[in-house]
């Protein structure tokens, strides 16, 4: 199997939402001597990009996205351990989480997946996350991006509180803050001092890639 065919198979396995196929393709990539970073960036990530674009355009829906993401992670689980220790996969760090008071994390998980596919090392803060925890993770992980999510309107104020705490941390000019979730909009992002409101995960990736 030549390199081009292996890369295509990695991408196709993700688009086909087929975790075992993605794992097998990743194993093939290694057995054929392919650079694991290349297999990730030019194989798995390409496939996840197709999924993300289709999801943003509502040509695909969440069930497919979740299974495609699982496929990508199955491939990553094979490829990442094969990366030589002195070769960094990425130097870009992002923190993602659902703000305090809210436990709905599917949207956050999709953003995490798409940022991972875009080459970010994503630190998952989880759900119901206090502002102080976001700040701590941002500083500990040296994050260039912080993505805040909420599904519910009552917790919009905690989104504002998190942005305010980051703004007062002395680190604000080193980090891009994006927000997302159904109750948010561009005006709210501007009001609380976030840099961007993400309509969907693909839009989040496009924005942060243009800034980082």
């Amino acid at each position: 199997m030549d390199e081009k065919a292996i890369l295509k198979e990695l991408a196709d396995a993700v688009v086909a939402c087929d975790p075992p196929r993605a794992k097998k393709a990743a194993e093939t990539a290694l057995s054929e001597g392919m650079d694991p970073v290349k297999a990730i960036n030019e194989g798995l990530v390409v496939g996840m990009g197709v999924i993300g674009d289709n999801y943003a355009e509502r040509k695909m829906y969440l069930p497919q996205v979740l299974v495609a993401a699982h496929s990508m992670y199955e491939g990553l689980d094979v490829l990442i351990p094969a990366i030589p220790k002195d070769e960094s996969l990425t130097t870009k760090n992002a923190v993602c989480g659902v703000v305090q008071g809210d436990v709905h994390d599917i949207g956050k998980n999709i953003v995490k997946t798409m940022l991972t596919a875009a080459g970010f090392m994503v630190h998952d803060a989880g759900k119901d996350v206090p502002p102080e925890e976001f700040k701590k993770m941002m500083l500990d992980d040296g994050a260039q991006v912080v993505c805040l999510s909420t599904l519910m309107t009552p917790t919009m104020d905690n989104m504002a509180a998190t942005v305010k705490l980051i703004a007062n941390s002395g680190y604000r000019d080193k980090v891009i803050i994006t927000i997302g979730g159904p109750p948010t909009n561009d005006a709210f992002a501007k009001e609380i001092g976030a840099d961007h409101r993400d309509e969907n995960a693909q839009q989040c990736v496009s924005f942060v890639n243009s800034k980082v």
Partner: protein, 368 residues
């Protein structure tokens, strides 16, 4: 003789021609201002039937809405199944802290829906019991003048709470029959609870099914994964029924009516005119003033404009598009005693709609 609030809402549910649509919120509406005004607050009002009824009736007593509605969140059924819950605070709603059953399609580890709670016991448990008792209180104190609304959780959404929503949604792609098997089993509880709400005093059952929104399920999956079960557990009830689904529900509005409900509640993410056109007079339309914007963050003028748009489009009940945010302000509400008119500004309910917008001849105060 002027119609009572109750008569107006019931007429709207039947799509009768009215001089103006009623202003009522069938989704949740329990704001900080209401809590301060009536003296019953979260989290106690989630579990105390008298406090729940008092807070629910504040919707009419203090904010001029033309209906009264309880319970207050979508975790009460999950709690009765045994899910751990954080009951929240005055300013935060209860949250699920875990799930009741094992359901992991990635690892192929599943519980089967064959060890579910006894139905009678389920209806006597926790906040299910609280809400049923509150229905009786609300019907007794306000039922003559106002429509009493009982809220419950849609079967796909509740199944997600019990299993893990992300895993349930994953299995819609990998094992759709397994997902349906669980949702069908759980829908029996949604049906029993809906009937119990009616038996306890509710005039309307309003079911929220947010996990079946088009942000999650493909429109073509809705009737298979949710709609057919909603039809059984809501559409078949012998009482008035409203189905609420969040997000851009435009592609599934026909499917929502296929469930046999009296009406549907839609968000502002569907343009008002488009929603009415798609609905094509198949039932009562409830909505669709935006919750975050303008209700929570906008000005009274923004709210009035949104309400006018919904009315002009043809909505039968002017309402918030989803649950009213807890911080939604109503100027002066806390100092306003119940059952009085508003001399300084004639407004209609929490939606802050100036009366002349809807042609309201008289502020909708308690009639007695």
């Amino acid at each position: 003789m002027a119609m009572s609030c109750r008569e107006r809402v019931l007429a709207a549910l039947k799509q009768e021609n009215l001089d103006r649509p009623p202003v009522a919120v069938f989704t949740t509406c329990d704001t900080i201002g209401m809590m301060k005004a009536c003296g019953a607050s979260w989290p106690e009002a989630h579990s105390d039937p008298q406090k729940m009824a008092t807070l629910a009736c504040a919707q009419a007593d203090y904010f001029g809405l033309e209906s009264v509605r309880a319970g207050f969140c979508l975790t009460q059924e999950a709690e009765a199944f045994g899910c751990p819950i954080n009951m929240g605070t005055e300013k935060s709603s209860p949250m699920l802290k875990g799930h009741r059953y094992n359901y992991n399609p990635m690892k192929k580890i599943y519980d089967e829906p064959d060890d579910l709670p006894d139905m009678d016991e389920f209806l006597r448990t926790g906040r299910i019991k609280t809400t049923l008792e509150a229905m009786g209180i609300m019907q007794k104190t306000h039922g003559e003048d106002y429509v009493v609304v009982g809220g419950n959780t849609g079967p796909f959404t509740l199944t997600g709470h019990l299993l893990n929503t992300e895993n349930l949604v994953y299995s819609v792609w990998t094992e759709p029959e397994r997902a349906q098997k669980w949702t069908k089993a759980i829908s029996a509880y949604s049906k029993a609870y809906g009937q119990a709400l009616l038996d306890a005093g509710a005039d309307v059952v309003q079911m929220s099914e947010p996990s079946a929104s088009t942000d999650i399920l493909a429109p073509t999956d809705f009737p298979i994964q949710s709609g057919q079960f909603v039809k059984d557990c809501l559409g078949s009830l012998k009482g008035h029924t409203i189905l609420h689904i969040c997000g851009d529900s435009a592609p599934i509005i026909p499917y929502m009516f296929d469930t046999g409900v009296d009406g549907i509640s839609v968000e502002e993410k569907v343009p008002s005119e488009k929603a009415i056109e798609i609905a094509n007079h198949r039932g009562c339309m409830v909505g669709n003033v935006g919750c975050a914007f303008p209700l929570f963050k906008g000005t009274p003028e923004d709210v009035a404009a949104a309400a006018k748009r919904s009315r002009d489009a043809g909505f039968n009940v002017i309402s918030a598009g989803c649950g009213v945010p807890i911080g939604t302000p109503v100027p002066g509400a806390a100092s306003r005693p119940p059952q009085t008119s508003y001399p300084s500004r004639r407004v209609c309910g929490i939606l802050l709609i100036p009366s002349d917008i809807l042609g309201i001849p008289q502020i909708n105060q308690r009639l007695k």
